[in-house]
């Protein structure tokens, strides 16, 4: 024991053993929690993943929209464009009572395949 030692015991927080023990455990728990927290880079990735996914989805939609708008609708296609069977096309014209246009009739009847 050093006889010259200054007695700082009134300033010693560990004099109250129970309070000191609580403090040690609280600090250790905070420290362990801090260690469990993800690294700053990973935390940023986790924090931003939802907005990033939303932005990516929006960008994909914007890129896809023009193609969707300009694609021909099936109803607008003529019988010839669908490449239908001549029997089916003729039946359909008969049922509808509709006279086919020459541009539809000729390819449907196979004129394009005729030898030139």
């Amino acid at each position: 024991m050093d006889p010259d030692r200054i007695d700082f015991s009134p300033l010693d927080p560990s004099r109250d053993r129970a309070a000191w023990e609580r403090m040690v455990r609280a600090v250790a728990a905070r420290g362990s929690a801090a260690r469990r927290r993800p690294s700053p880079v990973l935390a940023q990735v986790v924090a931003w993943w939802r907005p990033t996914i939303a932005l990516a989805a929006m960008a994909a939609l914007l890129a896809w929209a023009p193609a969707l708008l300009h694609a021909p609708r099936p109803a607008e296609r003529s019988v010839s464009e669908t490449g239908a069977d001549p029997v089916v096309s003729t039946t359909w014209w008969a049922l509808e009572g509709k006279a086919p246009a020459a541009a539809e009739f000729v390819p449907t009847m196979g004129a394009e395949d005729a030898p030139r």
């Binding site: 030692r5 300033l11 600090v27 905070r30 362990s32 260690r35």
Partner: protein
């Protein structure tokens, strides 16, 4: 066994997420952290808060501790920075009561210690910062001169000199106070 483990081994285990290692590091160094915080803020309650916050920050930044064997010195530097930040915050908030007369002094410990505590804090306030750290680490925390020299990056000789001068100044201040009280006595 954690008690016999070096700081380096405990830091490695704490980095790996071992809560037991965190607790041993706290048990080993919290009082020293408190002593350094007290030497700066000169308020026991605030020193406790500073030491706790500094530990939480140190664990958060444990991967930045490049020399785990010198964990104590690295931690005490964080404590010192936190303590100066707390002082600055206090200064910005505006003047408060002298810590030696503040109501927080009675927040822990028996009532008869309040007066002694106030006198010790007033005496410590007369010392240069480095002497306050050395005398608190040596006489309150029980560190040896090699430990103090290593943590504060001083030579052992300087540590002994600081302790000698600090004790002399404190005895002079406390002795003068005691003599003054004797003359006021019944």
């Amino acid at each position: 066994m954690a008690r016999g483990e070096s700081n380096g081994e405990l830091v490695a285990r704490a980095r790996a997420g071992d809560p037991g290692a965190c607790e041993f590091l706290v048990r080993r160094h919290l009082r020293a952290g408190y002593a350094v915080a007290l030497s700066v803020v000169r308020d026991p309650i605030e020193a406790e808060d500073v030491a706790q916050d500094a530990f939480a920050l140190a664990f958060e930044r444990l991967d930045d501790c490049r020399e785990p064997e010198r964990f104590a010195g690295w931690l005490l530097q964080i404590v010192r920075n936190q303590a100066f930040t707390a002082l600055e915050r206090k200064r910005v908030r505006g003047p408060t009561l002298d810590p030696a007369a503040g109501p927080e002094l009675g927040a822990w410990g028996p009532a008869e210690h309040v007066h002694l505590r106030a006198r010790l804090l007033s005496a410590l306030a007369t010392l240069p910062a480095v002497q306050r750290e050395v005398v608190l680490l040596h006489d309150l925390e029980g560190w040896t001169h090699p430990e103090i020299a290593n943590a504060l990056e001083l030579s052992e000789l300087m540590s002994r000199q600081h302790l000698f001068h600090a004790r002399k100044a404190l005895r002079s201040f406390l002795g003068a106070g005691a003599r003054l009280e004797d003359t006021r006595g019944p």
